[in-house]
Amino acid sequence: MTSFLHATVIAGTPLLLSTLGEILNEKAGNLNLGVEGMMLMGAVAGFLAAKGTNNAFLAVLCGLLFGCIGAFIYAFLTVTLRTNQTVTGLTLTIFGSGVSSFVGQNLSGQVVPDRVKYFLTPIRLPLLGKIPFLGNIFFNQDILVYISYILVFVIAVYFYKTRAGLNLKAVGDNPYAADAASINVALYKYINIIAGGALCGLSGGYLSLVYVPAWQNNITAGRGWIAVALVIFAAWNPYKALLGAYLFGGLDIIGFRIQDGFVSKYFLDMLPYIVTIIVLTFFSFKRSKKNSPPKSLGVSYFREER
């Protein structure tokens, strides 16, 4: 059981990172459907950097950076040029998957160098790691998992306790009013979209460097889309995102662990996607005022038409 939950946290971490990334996007009023694409770009960049430099830090940084690049393209198109967010996001996904399979063409099956792997192995934290049961599950993990815990907390503080978070909410809810209150709408959108892209790139890097850890084409296998759905599950709240990500991480592990028995494991592979639809349906249906999306989500802001 402990090993199952331990694995669940690892499987949930990429989902958590990309869900947080998408929450940042959506809080700024931009529905970015390019999560899968940014993750793939981050995954391939991280993997290549790991191969090339043998340095875990640079590998992770590279993954993060390429997520940012993807997000920047999206931000430039949707914020500055006011393109349709749905289509732009989809295109970003196609672009990212094209880039990753183009660059990763000859990498299939190659593994992450040992030196990089070594830096990303679980480290038991001094005090917290000694907590019975929970210590093993949550505090005997690799450094990126710890970073993801911190990110949840930092983002929650940013959203709920800072002035910038309040401004961000204004931008996402009503950019016209925000602009009138002299908040720089475009700047807020750019910063949050790019920060979100960084998290998606990091998430992709986590897949290729820690979770798999080798290169395979289309390594994300739809996790980016599950993350988009998890945002609704989490009602744009970072803490609930953590819960949702681990729930789906668990599903991932179940499909992985069950070998051919009563039900075929090929059949069970459908499970996470089916559960995503069910969860999404449930949470869209009982959407309350408190759990509603930013009001201008998906709508371009034209200052000239104010």
Binding site: N84, V87, I94, S97, S101, D269, F285
Partner: protein, 347 residues
Amino acid sequence: MRFVKRDNVDNFFRIKVKIISIVLAFLIMSIFLFALNINPLDAFFGMVKGAFGSPLRIRQTTIKTVPLIITSLGILIAFKMKFWNIGGEGQILIGAFGASIFALFYNNFNRPVLLALMALSSLVFGGLYALIAAFLKLYFRTNETIVTLMLNYIALKFITYLQYGPWKDKKALGFPKIANFPDNALLPSFFGVNIGWVIAVICLILVYIFMNHTKKGYEISIIGESINTARYAGINIKAVTLLCVFLSGALCGLTGFIQSSGVNGTLSVEISGGVGFTSIIIAYLSSLKEPFILIVSILFAALLQGSSYIETSLKIPNSAALILQSLILFCILASEIFTSYRLKIKR
């Protein structure tokens, strides 16, 4: 720097902007190829040669055009209503599955009857599969983009399950594939290409008439323009939505039939091969206008055929086509603002 609204924009100007942006996409791609030590001119001429260089290659390009036309038409119908059906891939697979049921298990008919049954089955299966998303959207307000996308993965895993499990061909010596269709379940050829291209042309005409000259087609556009107007005009939104999404999925399903019966000769996970996604781009590039679908589909088929040619001749990965496709769309998207706005630089 700010944008100022343009007053009168004619179609000629729009097309000019689109062509400029496609050229721009090729330029960006050139930089990309340069960076990888590949001469872009070699690549682009290779693509043209690979797509149109010989009668055989032209036939190959035509074969690749057919699924793009039909699927794009399906996507167009849904997009007209602003129903973001990105489940083309899944609907193609499930349509092919519907056709395969007849081809593999109920094939004691003569060829025309069996093919008609397979086509019908693919339409129904594809349509019903898309309806899941419409139903959830109508009754539970679930986001259709994500549902149709999840349905892609579910369909993919389902066909994988069939291929590795219950439908695995026992004669294939353990190789995970589904049995080949019998001869009477294969589409005949017409001018050297399977008659899917005739079906594509018929679909194009039918969809054009349906969307532009029937009441239901008009109602779909109204809902897409403004749901409130539609409600005010007394349109039965639920009924029209269900019909629209069913037709959208049915056309994608039909693609599955043509690909399995006319091209692959069996059902496999590779049958959709990204067509569902490419078609989204095509539908969008065609400004949701049927005649343009034909032209853009041929260009994209040439892109696909050309890039699979240079994959062997120049050793450029096939995914280059994917990058080029998305670059074209990025540039077109970016250019759209310039068709309705002018950039004004304040000093």
